[in-house]
């Protein structure tokens, strides 16, 4: 059995080139340097990403603003308004005209009492002047009331009457044709 006994004082003993503690610390230092490098690179990369994202968001927001103010949509809305206006001319004309044939037929055959004689009808705008003869003012008043009760017609003022029985009624036509 061999015994390895070194009797040299500590100062003269051969020391290892690097001890375990130093080696461990050196490894930690390297690891920390690597970590620092990684963190630095990551921060730079994240900053670049942030810059890119901010640009992208600004671009999208610009597109949103442009999309909200779409000229094509505005042009179509204008076109629709123009077409709707054009479509309204004919119905507007039809609604505005008075069908005098139907109106006079209704007045003469539905509203004039037997004792009243009509001698003439003259249209002026939307009014109709009715000339005729009535046997009494009572008969004429009743005729006037009948006209007023009709939803299409309205008597303008009191029925004027003369002793000879002649009268002229001014009737306003409220609807384009008789109302059922």
């Amino acid at each position: 059995m061999n015994l390895d006994i070194n009797l040299l004082p500590e100062e003269y003993k051969t020391k290892p080139l690097i001890d375990t503690r130093t080696l461990l610390l050196a490894v930690i230092v390297v690891a920390l340097i690597a970590t620092a490098f990684f963190l630095f690179q990551s921060k730079n990369s994240i900053d670049a990403d942030i810059e890119e994202l901010e640009k992208s968001i600004a671009n999208i927001e610009k597109q949103i603003a442009e999309a909200s103010d779409n000229p094509e949509l505005a042009a179509l809305e204008n076109e629709l308004a123009a077409v709707e206006k054009e479509a309204g001319y004919f119905p507007s004309f039809m609604d505005s005209r008075i069908l005098w044939g139907k109106t006079i037929e209704h007045l003469y055959y539905d509203l004039v009492p037997m004792e009243i004689t009509i001698n003439g009808l003259t249209q002026n705008g939307s009014t109709l002047n009715i000339n005729g003869l009535a046997p009494s003012y009572t008969a004429l008043s009743n005729f006037g009331r009948t006209i007023n009760l009709d939803p299409q017609l309205a008597l303008t003022g009191m029925p004027p009457y003369t002793a000879s029985g002649s009268f002229t009624l001014i009737v306003q036509v409220l609807e384009s044709e008789p109302v059922d």
Binding site: T22, L25, I46, F93
Partner: protein, 185 residues
Amino acid sequence: MINDLIYTLRSNIRVTALVAVVIALIVTNIMLYMPMKDASAERESLETREAGRKAQLEGILSQEEKNLEELQAEIDEVRASIIRFPEEFPTDQFGIYLAKGAETYKIELLSIAPPSGQVNKIIGGKNFPAYNTNISVKGELHYIISYFKYIEEGRYSSIETGNVRFTRSADVWSASFTITFVTWA
């Protein structure tokens, strides 16, 4: 005791230096990690915001496309429903139409004044070319009224009557009126 520590440090100068470097590096790493963590959170927030904006934009574009399609469809529908006045006044056919009506309703056409020159009829704020024709007729009242209805509610819907005057002489009625024929042109 401090002397002992100083002695220990001096005798382990390499280890001491390395420990100092390690401490410095740890501090550096912490200083690098903190802003990186903040930047990472900011990036995450911006990514969420970007995704939201993208979705918003896609929604707007999709809605706009839909709106455009709906608007176009509505325009086509309204356009298809437009009823127009005739492009021109059908002089010959209209004259024949009036004469036929007079025969049908047994009334006497006293006069038909030829259409006036073009006049303007304002409808909905727009001027439309129109033509006036003055007519006088004679006959029984119910026939004259039927003739009116034939004109007003007959084949030509772009017509209105005006200046209507009915007068009675015994049992015979006379009527005069103006027909306004509206055209589109």
